[in-house]
C-alpha cells in the first residue's frame, strides 16, 4: 500500500531531521567561553543594575562592583573609607562636607570623572522622573526632599555643588553622623552621564558600558549569569584581585549547596542560601561561616484595629513567646534572640532591654485587658508571605510555632494566612492585616536606620502607631553631634517602642551563613553590614 510506505518514509525522515535539529540546538546553546576565576552564587537575579533604582541587596552587590561613590566600604568591618574622593573636610557644625576627588579618575571607556559627574548622579537620584525608591536616604541634604517631591523644580537649589573640577560641596539639613556611609551606597554612586543622555533607559545595554569601579560588565543573561571583567582604568585597579567573575542567581538553597559541593561555585555569599534543616550539620564544617548582621526579624501589629489597639494585649502576646525555642528549633543558624529592635553590634549604640519571656505576666496582662484566660478574645489572622519554591519556609514554620505558643499559654486562637509576596507588601502598607511577620535589614551602621522607621507617618512604619514623644526623641537624637547624647536619646525612644507600647515584637537578630573554603578563597570577611566588596576576593593558587 503506497500510503503506509509513504508515511513510514516521511516519519523516518522527519525523525532524522529532528534529531539533527536537536543536535544543532544543543551545540548552539552550549557555551564556549573561558572559565571564570571566581564563581559566586548570589541569591536573586538583580532587577536592575542602575544604581539609582535598585532596592535589593543582591542587586547592590553587583552594582557596587561596577559603580563607586565618594566613599566606599572597606571589606573587614564595612567602615566608610575614601573612594572616588581621596579626602574631605567637615565643618565644625557638621553640616557642610567638602569632598576632594582624586585627580586621576577615569571611566572604563577613558573619559575623566569629575565633580560634575558626582552632582549629576545625585541630582538624577533625586529627580522625580527617575522614581528612585531609595531617594529618601539623601533627604539629609538641603532641599533634597523638596526637589524629590516636586516642590522645587530647580536642581541647583539642592545642597550639592561642584565648586571646581575636583571638589564637591555638600550642605546638610542637620549634622548626620552616618552621612559618609550613605555616600558609599549605590544610590550615591557616580553614573555615566554621557551614556545615559545618549541611550535613556536602555543605557545599561550599551556596549561598552562605562563603569567607575573595579569591574566592567561583560554579559548579563537573566536568570543565567552575570559576567564581570576587571576594569584596568579603575584608580585602585592594582588591588583588584580577580580577572573574571561570574555571578549566578540561584534561588534555591539546595541547588546552591549542591553546586558548591560539586565545585561549580566557589562562594555562596547570600546568607539565606542554606537549607535550614541541615544547618546544624553544616555549621560544624570549617567552610561554613556564621555571623550576625544588622537585621532583625520581628512581628508587627496593626494598632488601629481591636484588640491590638490596647498595649497590654500586645505586651501580653510578646511575653508569651518563647523566642529561644524558635531559634533553637526552627531557624537554627545560631541566631541571637532579642527583645529590642536595634541589633547588637550597631556602632555607638547599646540597646535597652525590652520584654522577655514571662507567661505568667502575660496572662495577667491579658486578663487586665479584659480577656482572662483568653476568653472572648477574637480570632485573628497572622499574615505572612510565601518565600517561594523549596527554600525558606521559615515564615510558615515560625507562624505554626507562634500559633501553638499563644494557644497553649494564653488560650487564644490564631489563624494563618499566607499570601504571595507582592500581595503581602501591598497589604502591609495598606494596613490590611492584624498581625504580620516583618523584618528589617539596616542600610547603614547606625541605630537610626531601625528607629527612624517608626516615626509618625514614615512609609515603613506600617503599623499605624504614632507617639509624639518617640518622634521628638528620635529627631532630637539626629540633631545632636554628641554621640553619647545621641545614644541616650535613642535608648529612651527604643524603650517606648519595644517595652512600653510594643507595636512590634522583636524575635531575633538575623544570622547569616556564607560558605566558602578559606583554604581556597581569600579577601572575604563577614561584617555587620554583610557587605563583601568583590574587588578584594580572589582564589588562592593551589600549592603544587
Amino acid at each position: 500500500m503506497t500510503f503506509i510506505g509513504r508515511a513510514g518514509r516521511i516519519f523516518l525522515r522527519a525523525r532524522f531531521a529532528f534529531c539533527l535539529l536537536g543536535c544543532a540546538f544543543v551545540f548552539g546553546c552550549s557555551r564556549h567561553e573561558p572559565p571564570a576565576d571566581l564563581t559566586i552564587i548570589n541569591n536573586a537575579e538583580p532587577e536592575s543594575l542602575d544604581p539609582a533604582i535598585i532596592v535589593a541587596q543582591a542587586d547592590m552587590r553587583v552594582v557596587s562592583a561596577m559603580f563607586e561613590g565618594l566613599t566606599r566600604l572597606e571589606p573587614v568591618n564595612a567602615q566608610a573609607v575614601p573612594g572616588l574622593a581621596e579626602s574631605w573636610d567637615i565643618s565644625p557644625d557638621g553640616k557642610i562636607y567638602t569632598f576632594h576627588l582624586r585627580t586621576n579618575l577615569l571611566w572604563s571607556t577613558g573619559e575623566p570623572i569629575t565633580s560634575a559627574d558626582v552632582v549629576y548622579s545625585w541630582i538624577r537620584e533625586l529627580s522625580p522622573a527617575t522614581a528612585s525608591e531609595y531617594a529618601g536616604q539623601l533627604y539629609y541634604v538641603k532641599n533634597a526632599k523638596e526637589f524629590n517631591t516636586g516642590q522645587i523644580k530647580d536642581a541647583s537649589l539642592v545642597g550639592v555643588h561642584a565648586t571646581d573640577k575636583f571638589t564637591v560641596r555638600v550642605e546638610l539639613n542637620h549634622p548626620t553622623l552616618f552621612f559618609l556611609d550613605i555616600c558609599s551606597m549605590p544610590l550615591a554612586c557616580v553614573v555615566p552621564r554621557q551614556t545615559i543622555e545618549k541611550y535613556g533607559d536602555r543605557w545599561l545595554m550599551a556596549t561598552p558600558l562605562p563603569v567607575s569601579s573595579a569591574y566592567e560588565l561583560v554579559e548579563w543573561r537573566l536568570n543565567d549569569k552575570i559576567r564581570l571583567k576587571k576594569n584596568p582604568l579603575y584608580w585602585d585597579a592594582v588591588n583588584t584581585r580577580s580577572e573574571i567573575v561570574d555571578i549566578l542567581p540561584v534561588g534555591s538553597p539546595n541547588t546552591a549547596l549542591n553546586l558548591y559541593e560539586r565545585g561549580q561555585a566557589d562562594i555562596v555569599w547570600d546568607k539565606e542560601l542554606i537549607p535550614s534543616e541541615l544547618i546544624d550539620v553544616l555549621l560544624q564544617r570549617p567552610d561554613f561561616h556564621a555571623f550576625t548582621y544588622l537585621g532583625t526579624y520581628f512581628i508587627r501589629f496593626n494598632v488601629t484595629k481591636k484588640p491590638f489597639d490596647d498595649p497590654r494585649v500586645r505586651q501580653a502576646l510578646a511575653l508569651a513567646i518563647d523566642k529561644e525555642r524558635i531559634v533553637k528549633k526552627i531557624t537554627r543558624a545560631g541566631e541571637v534572640t532579642t527583645s529590642h529592635l536595634v541589633p547588637d553590634g550597631t556602632r555607638n549604640y547599646t540597646s535597652p532591654p525590652g520584654l522577655g519571656y514571662d507567661p505568667a505576666q502575660a496572662r495577667k496582662l491579658l486578663a487586665e485587658a479584659g480577656y482572662p484566660g483568653g476568653k472572648g478574645f477574637p480570632r485573628f489572622e497572622y499574615l505572612f508571605n510565601a518565600a517561594g519554591g523549596s527554600g525558606g519556609k521559615i515564615h510558615e514554620n515560625i507562624a505554626i510555632e507562634l500559633q501553638q505558643m499563644w494557644r497553649d499559654q494564653l488560650g487564644i486562637e490564631m489563624e494563618l494566612r499566607q499570601v504571595e509576596t507582592q500581595v503581602f507588601w501591598g497589604m502591609e502598607s495598606r494596613l490590611d492585616y492584624q498581625v504580620s511577620r516583618s523584618s528589617w535589614i539596616g542600610d547603614y551602621d547606625d541605630a537610626n536606620t531601625f528607629l527612624g522607621m517608626f516615626l509618625t507617618g514614615d512609609g515603613n512604619n506600617e503599623t499605624g502607631w504614632s507617639n509624639p514623644r518617640y518622634d521628638d526623641l528620635v529627631h532630637a537624637a539626629n540633631e545632636t553631634t554628641d554621640a553619647k547624647q545621641r545614644e541616650k536619646l535613642f535608648q529612651q525612644a527604643e524603650t517606648i517602642l519595644v517595652r512600653d507600647e510594643a507595636p512590634i515584637i522583636p524575635l531575633y537578630i538575623y544570622s547569616g551563613i556564607n560558605y566558602f573554603d578559606t583554604n581556597k578563597i581569600s579577601g572575604i570577611w563577614e561584617n555587620v553590614l554583610d557587605d563583601q566588596p568583590l574587588r578584594t576576593i580572589r582564589k588562592i593558587e593551589a600549592r603544587p
Binding site: L278, K329, N397, I400, Q404, L416, R417, E420
Partner: protein, 344 residues
C-alpha cells in the same frame, strides 16, 4: 452453530504457523453469543471484571478510602495519648525521627506524625481530585452535549471557545485566577463575617480552578459522542414523539454518555491531583497548616540533599500518591476497555 468459546477463535492463515503474537488474538464474539444481547452496562461490567489490574485497583482505592474515613474517627475515640501523638497538627520535640513504633511513618520538621498527616492529606488530595474532576465533568458534559446536540452556529461558537481556551497557557491562568478570585471574594463582607468559610475558601478555589481548566478535552469527547448518538434511532423516535431538546438531552443523550464520563473522571483525577501537587510545590496550593500530598511531598523533596536524607518524608507520601494514581489509572483503563470507548 459455532459454540466454541470466543477466545479460541483465532483466524488461521494458509501455510503460516499459528500466530504467536497475542496482538492478533481476535475477540469478536459470534452473532449468537449471549453477550451481545445484554445491555451495554452489563456487557461493560462483565468486561471490567476480567481485567485483573482494574479490579485490584478498585479494591485498593476502596481500602484507602476506608482507612482515610476511619482514621479520624479512630483518633477521636482512642485514648488521649494515642490521639495526641497522632494528631497531625500536634507539634512535638521529636523532629525528623525515622519510622518507629510510635510514629509509623516518622516525623517531620515540626515533630508532627507523618502517617497521620499523610492520611489527612489524602482527604484533601482526593477531594481536590474528585471535586475537580466533577467540576470538569459537569462543565464538559453540558458544554459538549449542547454543542453536539444543537449543532450549527451554537456548536461552532462553543467549539471555537474551546479552541481559544486550549491555546491559553493554563499555568498562568490558574495561578492568576486562583489568587484574583480568592482575594476578591475573601475581601467581600459576606466572607469576612464567617471565619470558617474563609479558611475553607482557599481549598474550594483550588477545586474550582483546577476543574475549570480541565474540562476542555471532556467537552470535545462528549461532543463527538453526542454527534454520533444524535442520529441514532431512539433519539429520532423521541423527537417524532414530540420531545423538546432539553428533555432529549437529559433523558436520552446524557445517560448514554455516562460510560465515557466515568472513564474520563477516573483518568482526569490523576492529572488534577498531580497538578495540585505542582501548585503546592510552588506554595500556591493548600495553605499551612492543612496538608495535601502535594505539600507533603514538596516538604519532603526540599529535604533531599547529599548530606542527610530523611527518606521517609518523601517515600511515604510519595509512595501513596503514586500508588493511588496508578490505581486510578488502571481503573480508568479498565473502565475504558469495558465500555469499549476509543481513545480519540
Amino acid at each position: 452453530m459455532n459454540n466454541e468459546p470466543v477466545e479460541s477463535r483465532k483466524p488461521k492463515v494458509e501455510g503460516e504457523k499459528p500466530a504467536t503474537s497475542e496482538l492478533f488474538a481476535g475477540s469478536r464474539p459470534s452473532a449468537l453469543d449471549p453477550r451481545l444481547h445484554s445491555s451495554p452496562g452489563q456487557r461493560a461490567w462483565r468486561r471490567f471484571r476480567t481485567n485483573r489490574a482494574a479490579v485490584f485497583s478498585a479494591w485498593y482505592l476502596a481500602f484507602l478510602l476506608a482507612v482515610i474515613l476511619v482514621w479520624p474517627v479512630l483518633l477521636k475515640v482512642s485514648g488521649a495519648s494515642f490521639a495526641k501523638t497522632h494528631n497531625p497538627d500536634q507539634l512535638s520535640d521529636v523532629q525528623f525521627s525515622p519510622p518507629t513504633a510510635q510514629h509509623w511513618f516518622g516525623t517531620d520538621f515540626h515533630g508532627r506524625d507523618v502517617f497521620s498527616r499523610t492520611l489527612f492529606g489524602a482527604q484533601i488530595s482526593l477531594l481536590v481530585g474528585v471535586v475537580g474532576a466533577g467540576v470538569s465533568l459537569i462543565i464538559g458534559v453540558l458544554w459538549g452535549a449542547i454543542a453536539g446536540y444543537v449543532g450549527g452556529r451554537v456548536d461552532s461558537f462553543l467549539m471555537r471557545l474551546v479552541d481559544i481556551l486550549y491555546s491559553l497557557p493554563t499555568i498562568i491562568f490558574v495561578i492568576v485566577l486562583l489568587k484574583t478570585l480568592g482575594e476578591l471574594v475573601k475581601q467581600s463582607h459576606f466572607v469576612k463575617n464567617s471565619p470558617a468559610l474563609e479558611s475553607s475558601l482557599n481549598v474550594i478555589f483550588i477545586f474550582v480552578g483546577l476543574g475549570a481548566v480541565s474540562w476542555l478535552t471532556m467537552a470535545r469527547i462528549v461532543r463527538g459522542q453526542v454527534l454520533s448518538l444524535r442520529s441514532r434511532a431512539f433519539v429520532e423516535a423521541s423527537r417524532t414523539l414530540g420531545a423538546g431538546t432539553p428533555r432529549i438531552l437529559f433523558r436520552h443523550i446524557i445517560p448514554n454518555i455516562f460510560g465515557i464520563a466515568i472513564t474520563y473522571v477516573a483518568l482526569t483525577m490523576p492529572a488534577i491531583i498531580l497538578y495540585e501537587s505542582f501548585l503546592s510545590f510552588l506554595s500556591l496550593g493548600v495553605q499551612a497548616p492543612m496538608a495535601s500530598w502535594g505539600t507533603l511531598i514538596a516538604e519532603g523533596v526540599s529535604q533531599i540533599n547529599p548530606i542527610r536524607i530523611y527518606w521517609w518524608l518523601v517515600v511515604f507520601p510519595g509512595g501513596i500518591l503514586v500508588t493511588t494514581l496508578l490505581a486510578l489509572n488502571f481503573l480508568g483503563d479498565g473502565l475504558r476497555d469495558a465500555w469499549d470507548v476509543k481513545s480519540k
